[in-house]
Symmetry: C2
Subunit: 212 residues, 2 copies
DNA sequence: GGTATCGGATACCCATGGGTATTGAGATGG
DNA sequence: CCATCTCAATACCCATGGGTATCCGATACC
């Protein structure tokens, strides 16, 4: 009656290893973002992925390694999203408006990303091993922002008002700060407000200050 | 021989309750900042304060209440530090320079504050009870920043370049973002860099943008 | 100074969850 | 078709740490 074969005789194929690993990582991202690293249980992550703890220990060395795998994976995926953003608009003002809107939307809508980022930052602030993984990624993000800004300033014909590296740092940190503020007080710091803040600073950085 | 009395017959006075509470709170701030909320052990906190777990449960309802007490306490102390800052310099440029230097120093030197702030933010992002305590505090901080900025702009005679509330949000979030970045990558984001970033944005917010 | 009360120390309980050893189903190869 | 290997499922171990019950010395009050 109850064989291990399906109704059509299929021998219940086993899910591929890659797939198992993928699902575990995705589930881990969700759970870590929702509960934080320390309060996340490996069993919950496994369940969320449709497996058990055994799968976790078969694919990763343990909790820390699972988290580190997420960090490494994210550090690649994160950069693409930032880079290709200001490609279509050639008018600097339009580019600024588009970028501000895009980033504001992401901050307001993708709270999972924000939460995970905050968790990573908090861990990095305390644990040097995490910091060693995170610091290079952040550097790359700042440089990507600097490059985008320089590009836009260049297309506008104006010489960059401030050192692009400094501008990149400012935009990067402001973005993270706004994300944090939105998570802490979503009512007061909504998408529109975030957008205005970003647009204001971007414009200020791209147009030379009035000498006074 | 071994009485409970000191060498001069003093009856070993017991530390005042207020004092016990004070020391426990101070120790808790240190430990929470160092290890994060979840990884902090009540016994470690008590030991750090020179007591035992019993003292904690005698003065606070438990771990969560201890943390909440810290939040409430900090929310008062935090505002004073922000407010009285730009009182001495009347020249806007000087005020900006002084403020940027002061904040940069605090970010670079007082890592404990930064770590605790990050931990609080991460908790608030996940837990609505924490958020309910944190959100009003953040609002007050933003408003304080807005007021300071408006004051400086006013003393310079120039009409504020942007809405003070928006400017307050920007400065507040940039500060937090810079603090986070310094914690994640202290080498690259040092005090001087933080200072430059802050000064740049403050100047931009206080002088009207060149119309282009 | 004797007694009641307070408050921190001590000892204990036990739910939690990371980690491990073992099992057994399904792939793999001869 | 059988032997072998792979890998997730299962069952288990046990250190950890929040919370509690109790004790006992110090203070307060009469």
């Amino acid at each position: 009656m109850s064989e291990t074969t399906g109704p059509r005789g299929g021998p219940t194929p086993r899910t591929r290893r890659d797939e198992v690993r993928r699902r575990l990582l995705d589930a881990a991202v969700r759970v870590f973002a929702e509960r934080g690293y320390a309060d996340s249980r490996l069993e919950d992550i496994a369940r969320e992925a449709g497996f058990t703890k055994g799968a976790v220990y078969s694919n990763f060395g343990g909790k820390q390694e699972l988290f580190a795998a997420i960090l490494r994976e994210r550090s690649e995926a994160e950069l693409d999203a930032v880079t290709a953003r200001t490609r279509d608009a050639d008018d600097p003002a339009a580019a600024v408006a588009a970028a501000a809107r895009l980033v504001a939307r992401r901050i307001a809508e993708d709270t999972e990303r924000g939460r995970l980022g905050l968790e990573v930052a908090a861990l990095a602030a305390r644990d040097s091993a995490t910091r060693d993984i995170v610091a290079p990624l952040r550097r790359a993000q700042r440089e990507a922002a600097a490059r985008s800004l320089a590009e836009v300033a260049d297309s506008g014909g104006a010489a960059p008002a401030v050192d692009p590296r400094l501008a990149g740092l400012i935009v990067h940190c402001l973005t993270n700060g706004l994300s944090m503020e939105h998570l802490a007080d979503p009512e007061a710091v909504d998408a529109a407000t975030v957008e205005r803040a970003l647009a204001t600073v971007l414009n200020a950085l791209l147009s030379p200050p009035a000498s006074g």
